[in-house]
């Protein structure tokens, strides 16, 4: 390219005398705007259907509207009560509670408060339902005696401590439950009783199983990717179809197929019995446990390991290995010192893909995992659709998200995301 105007001194200018840099900016601006406009639909889509729900989920894990909204009078009256004093609140609080119970029953909102507080102390739901029914007839003081008459629980200090604790607009109690912790009645944080500790254990299990599955995918995927990248094109095409075939079949179908194969009256066990490897009453338990989850998830995630590996291996010219061999390296040494290091970026990409996918996998462990092979995502789904404890589900989901981000950052520190090649 030749420059039309030659400026003898000072900054370069275009023919019309504008500074060159400025003209260039203006010329590029149009291009940038076009590029931006092309991405607008996708950005809007992602914002509405991805970013917003995630923010909503984060919010739901700390949001606490029930007590302040549906017990407003009680919350106001409890302001002056000192929960550490060891004495029950006064008559004014009980009067406020009766009023709230009456209003709540009329508006059909009292059940929500009950359900919310039931997460913290079991039995609260029935307490609020029962008492609100009886509160209809409480028109005269003393309300304290009337309520305690309705249920002995109103006499308990921890019930009032709980209501006061949860009277704020925000709560940390979902996160505490998600970490197997709880508030003690006096407001400090303590571990859950051992028989109620489950989530930390589940996070650990999810992590360990994801690591194992990722490892299995590397072990099984590496040779296949190598074969794909090195055999002649016409065979590689066929093999590639075989690798991609699972993508054309529904995840559910593939998982169900594994059930048919692995169950104790299934194909594999029948075969093993038939050739005499196991006896008929010693059939292997291959499904509804960890084994089932390992087998099915490794199978389902394997292509996500093979594809990035393949695309990286494809770019390694065969002459590298030949060069190493001609310089005196054995096949194994040439592979170890030359070929393998060059595939690391593909292994990195495959690892992070498979690991992140498996850490949040849901359908397959739900179907083949039984009780010992289910992952954290199954419990999140359970809280969303069965127990309806959305706050806890959101807290667990947020922690899972944070965990993935932390692992990603660690990965970036060690391997470097820039070194990762998807293709």
């Amino acid at each position: 390219m030749t420059d039309g105007t030659v400026a003898n001194e000072g900054p370069l200018v275009t023919s019309d005398g504008r500074p060159l840099k400025q003209s260039l900016q203006a010329a590029l601006k149009q291009k940038r705007r076009q590029a931006f406009m092309l991405t607008v639909p996708l950005l809007a889509f992602i914002f509405i259907f991805f970013i917003v729900p995630i923010i909503a989920m984060l919010w739901r894990s700390v949001e606490n509207p029930e007590v302040p909204n549906y017990l407003p009078n009680t919350v106001a009256a409890l302001q002056s009560w000192d929960e550490a004093s060891g004495v029950l609140p006064g008559e004014d609080v009980y009067a406020a509670m009766v009023k709230d119970l009456q209003i709540g029953r009329e508006n059909r909102t009292i059940g929500k408060v009950g359900r919310r507080l039931n997460y913290e102390i079991p039995g609260m739901s029935s307490l609020f339902k029962g008492s609100s029914r009886k509160a209809k007839n409480m028109t005269e003081a003393p309300f304290k005696d009337a309520l305690i008459k309705a249920s002995k629980k109103w006499e308990k200090l921890d019930v009032w401590q709980l209501i006061k604790r949860e009277s704020g607009d925000l709560t940390a109690s979902y996160y505490l439950s998600a970490m197997d912790l709880r508030f003690t009645p006096d407001g400090s944080v303590a571990a859950q009783p051992e028989n109620r500790q489950i989530y930390i254990f589940l996070f650990q299990r999810t992590l360990i199983m994801s690591v194992v599955i990722t490892g299995l995918c590397i072990l099984l995927g590496f040779p296949i990717a190598y074969l794909l990248a090195t055999i002649p094109m016409r065979y590689a095409g066929l093999l590639m179809i075989l690798v991609l075939l699972p993508f054309w079949t529904s995840l559910l179908v593939r998982t169900t197929a594994w059930i048919a194969l692995l169950q104790s009256q299934g194909v594999i066990n029948d075969l093993l019995v038939a050739i005499g490897v196991v006896s008929d009453d010693g059939r292997l338990q291959l499904i509804h446990n960890k084994t089932g989850t390992f087998i099915a998830m490794t199978h389902i995630l394997l292509p996500f390991m093979i594809l990035p590996l393949y695309s990286v291996m494809k770019t390694i010219p065969p002459s590298y290995m030949r060069a190493a061999r001609s310089m005196g390296a054995t096949q194994w040494w040439a592979f170890y010192k030359v070929y393998f290091p060059l595939t690391l970026s593909g292994i990195g990409a495959g690892t992070i893909l498979v690991f992140i996918l498996s850490i949040g996998f849901y359908i397959t462990p739900a179907l083949v995992g039984g009780t010992s092979g289910t992952l954290i995502s199954n419990f999140i789904a359970n809280h969303v659709s069965v127990t309806l404890n959305w706050g806890l589900a959101a807290a667990l989901g947020t922690m899972l998200l944070a965990l993935v981000l932390v692992l990603y950052l660690i990965y970036d520190k060690i391997v470097g995301v820039d070194n990762m090649k998807m293709g």
Partner: protein, 365 residues
């Protein structure tokens, strides 16, 4: 040093890529395998390096058959077309690789790497990665890496193919000098005839899996054995005709298709009645020559003149061919030619060779 004995190679069991190859390379020689793509030259190199097994026949290295010796035990240095420098290692690590494999001590490794880098005039680049080097520098490193473990035989597979013309010519001389200084044996594969002529002691011209001719650059150019070699190396004029007679001095009398009768060296014709292509180099043809005893003179018409500075490329129609090229030197006082001018042209009978009747497209890379 290297001997191919009746070597054949087939990839698919249906066609032979290399047909009955016999080749002797002596110590310190620079032999080039030259040929169009698909002629089997690279396959031969790969068989010698050990990356492809010979389907039949035996290859000897220093008198030992090496068909069953794996590549890493052959001790042959190799330079690849794309250089094959390991991108995840520095230049110094690349050069140390063959030394490391041989279990050489660290200090000696460093010494050798340093010497190798000095040999290719890149003493300061040891710490860089291959991607940070220019094509020419990578090329030098590749050569240095093939030499650093002091093999007695170096194979080069179109090593200059990726360089631009100027750099390629410079590298040709450098490789040639390295060869002369180190006295290693070099087997070089290329499809570029100028490269082959510049560098080689001997050139093996490959076509269709067969060595068409194996001789010095000079012989190859001036005394081609057959029509393929004549057409593949340099520029060549062809005149089709039929042999009328071959005398005892191997001088053939050929009747051209236009009816003219000329004499030529009988090279690849057997006897009376054979179809033949007469081959004459453009620079051996003179316009309006003096009629001496040995000169063949024909009539021609000037069709096109192309001014090339040092010479004028003149396309003429001669004896029914309109692609006859004559290089007229741009001497002071040379005859000024005009397009359409009718003139005579001639050559000495020894410069004209009667070859087999095969016409090849010169569309090789």
């Amino acid at each position: 040093m290297v001997r191919f004995e009746g070597v054949q190679k087939s990839y698919d069991g249906e066609a032979l890529v290399v047909k009955d190859l016999n080749l002797d390379i002596s110590k310190g020689e620079f032999v080039t395998m030259l040929g169009p793509s698909g002629s089997g030259k690279t396959t031969c190199l790969m068989m010698l390096a050990g990356f492809e097994p010979a389907t039949y026949g035996e290859i000897y290295l220093e008198g030992e058959p090496i068909n069953n010796v794996p590549p890493h035990k052959r001790g042959i240095g190799m330079v690849f077309q794309n250089y094959a420098l390991f991108p995840h290692m520095t230049i110094a690590e690349n050069l140390a690789f063959p030394l490391q494999v041989r279990g050489m001590g660290k200090a000696e490794q460093e010494e050798r790497v340093k010497k190798a880098l000095e040999m290719v005039e890149l003493p300061t680049l040891g710490g860089r990665r291959p991607a940070q080097l220019s094509g020419g520098q990578q090329q030098r490193v590749a050569v240095a890496r093939a030499l650093v473990f002091e093999p007695s035989l170096i194979l080069m597979d179109e090593p200059l193919g990726a360089l631009d013309k100027q750099l390629r010519e410079q590298m040709q001389y450098e490789i040639k000098h390295i060869h002369e200084n180190l006295k290693v044996t070099v087997v070089y594969v290329t499809h570029d005839q100028a490269e082959a002529l510049t560098m080689s002691d001997r050139i093996a011209v490959f076509n269709d899996g067969v060595i068409q001719q194996l001789s010095s650059p000079e012989d190859l150019y001036e005394r081609p054995d057959n029509a393929f070699v004549a057409q593949f190396i340099g520029e060549n004029n062809k005149l089709a005709g039929t042999v009328q007679e071959i005398d005892k001095d191997k001088v053939a009398t050929v009747k051209l298709d236009s009816g003219d009768v000329v004499k030529a060296q009988a090279v690849a014709v057997n006897g009376k009645g054979d179809r033949t292509l007469l081959s004459i180099r453009p620079e051996r043809v003179a316009i309006a020559p003096k009629k001496l005893k040995n000169t063949i003179v024909l009539d021609g018409t000037i069709e096109e003149l192309i001014y090339l500075g040092d010479h004028i490329r003149t396309r003429m129609s001669v004896a029914g061919h309109n692609d006859f090229v004559v290089k007229v030197p741009n001497n002071s006082g040379h005859h000024v030619l005009k397009e359409g001018e009718k003139t005579t042209l001639g050559w000495i009978a020894e410069d004209c060779r009667a070859l087999d009747y095969n016409i090849y497209d010169k569309d090789h890379g």
